[in-house]
């Protein structure tokens, strides 16, 4: 069915996602255990597009799945922060949206304490 694409591309995108993660943690991405593990796994299987090997395909599929996970979590979080995380506007801001201002009543509203 739909192919996975080139393994080099998957590896490069994975490294980019790990760089985003490490940028938040503040440490260089080469130190992270995930990057080391990935590098060893790819080197051990020498994922190239010429050889047809079941273990290579399995590793590439796993790498592609992990890439999808990291990417989707990052994009989902970004959308959440932008659209769903800010809470409600206050009454003043809501009135300001249509150019109205709330009335100032120095004597207080009748039901306020």
């Amino acid at each position: 069915m739909a192919g996975l694409g080139s393994p080099v591309r998957t590896l490069r995108s994975l490294v980019r996602e790990l760089r985003y993660v490490s940028a938040q943690a503040g440490r260089p991405y080469r130190d992270t255990a995930a990057y080391r593990h990935l590098r060893e796994a790819f080197r051990a299987h020498r994922v190239t597009s010429e050889k047809l090997c079941r273990a290579q395909h399995e590793l590439h599929f796993q790498a592609a799945t992990y890439l999808c996970l990291l990417r989707s979590v990052r994009q989902h979080l970004a959308l959440h922060q932008e659209y769903h995380a800010k809470g409600e506007r206050s009454t003043e801001e809501a009135a300001g949206l249509v150019g109205l201002k709330l009335p100032q009543q120095p004597g207080g509203k009748g039901w306020d304490s």
């Binding site: 069915m1 051990a44 399995e58 994009q75 989902h76 659209y83």
Partner: protein
């Protein structure tokens, strides 16, 4: 008091608001007249650790947040059988900035479910719940109109059903009636015995993927590495994609759901694969 001190060893900071439903200070306020009525999202726990590392114990690999060991919600020690899975969980914890958003840590959630088993299900119950999805499988439910959607379903879903029928040597078929396809008992038995070959942890992952995609066939396609995650999610959401192409895309709803579904499906698939593989070391020796 000593028991609450022992809870310091858990992955909870004593200053942070508890996760149980005691209303946090900055959270939604009560509707008293005169006080603010606007909704603010509840405050989340702050990130209380600097470093995340893994270590190997007797039961498997454990996660260390600074010097504390990670625990499950039922206070058991968090151990996973696979090193790659432990590294992935550690990366999830490491990627939290400022606050801990546990809804983004899908692998951690899956591991917690597998370790705690809060609904106390045994293997047969999980397999039965998984195979039950076949009767209402998404790719078997066809519509009769509009013609464009009928065509799309035929072109995209028929190859999946053919692949599953050929791979497992069963009959599935599709149906346009509201009762759904008629699945013969032999098909169900074949899938039951196939799923029984996976261990308990991998089964939790597989059943999670089935629940997310609402389809046993698509999940088997993922587990057997026949289709990638993006394609499986696309096939699961085929009617939604059709309507989006017709009526337009709403980013804060469609894309939001799409990425969340992709994240959960990818997490479940990765979890199932990492928990069921065991022989990567042998391959390395054989190649040399």
């Amino acid at each position: 008091m000593w028991r609450s001190c022992q809870r310091l060893f858990c992955a909870r900071s004593p200053q942070a608001p508890r996760l149980c439903p005691a209303p946090p200070v900055g959270g939604p306020s009560l509707s008293l007249p005169g006080t603010a009525r606007t909704y603010t999202p509840p405050t989340e726990r702050k990130r209380f650790y600097q470093n995340v590392s893994i270590s190997q114990g007797e039961g498997g690999f454990e996660i260390n947040l600074d010097h504390r060991k990670l625990k499950t919600p039922q206070a058991k020690l968090f151990t996973v059988p696979s090193e790659a899975l432990a590294i992935a969980v550690a990366t999830e914890w490491d990627s939290q900035q400022d606050t801990i958003k546990s809804y983004t840590m899908h692998l951690t959630t899956l591991c917690n479910t597998a370790l705690d088993n809060p609904s106390q299900r045994n293997k047969e119950q999980i397999i039965r719940a998984a195979v039950k999805f076949l009767e209402t499988d998404t790719v078997c439910y066809r519509v009769e109109e509009p013609a464009g959607l009928v065509e799309l379903q035929k072109n995209e879903w028929d190859p999946m059903i053919e692949w599953a029928e050929k791979r497992y040597n069963v009959e599935i078929g599709s149906s346009t009636s509201i009762m759904g396809p008629n699945i013969p008992a032999r098909t169900k038995d074949t899938f039951t015995s196939h799923l029984a070959s996976y261990n308990m942890w991998a089964l939790q992952g597989i059943e999670y993927v089935i629940t997310q995609l609402k389809s046993l066939i698509l999940s088997m396609g993922l587990i057997d590495r026949h289709i990638p995650v993006e394609k499986a999610v696309l096939l699961s959401r085929l009617e939604e994609e059709f309507q989006i192409q017709h009526w337009g895309n709403v980013e804060w709803a469609h894309d939001y759901d799409l990425y969340e579904l992709r994240a959960r499906t990818a997490a479940g698939t990765l979890f199932a694969h990492l928990c069921s593989e065991s022989s990567t070391v042998k391959h390395k020796l054989l190649q040399d």
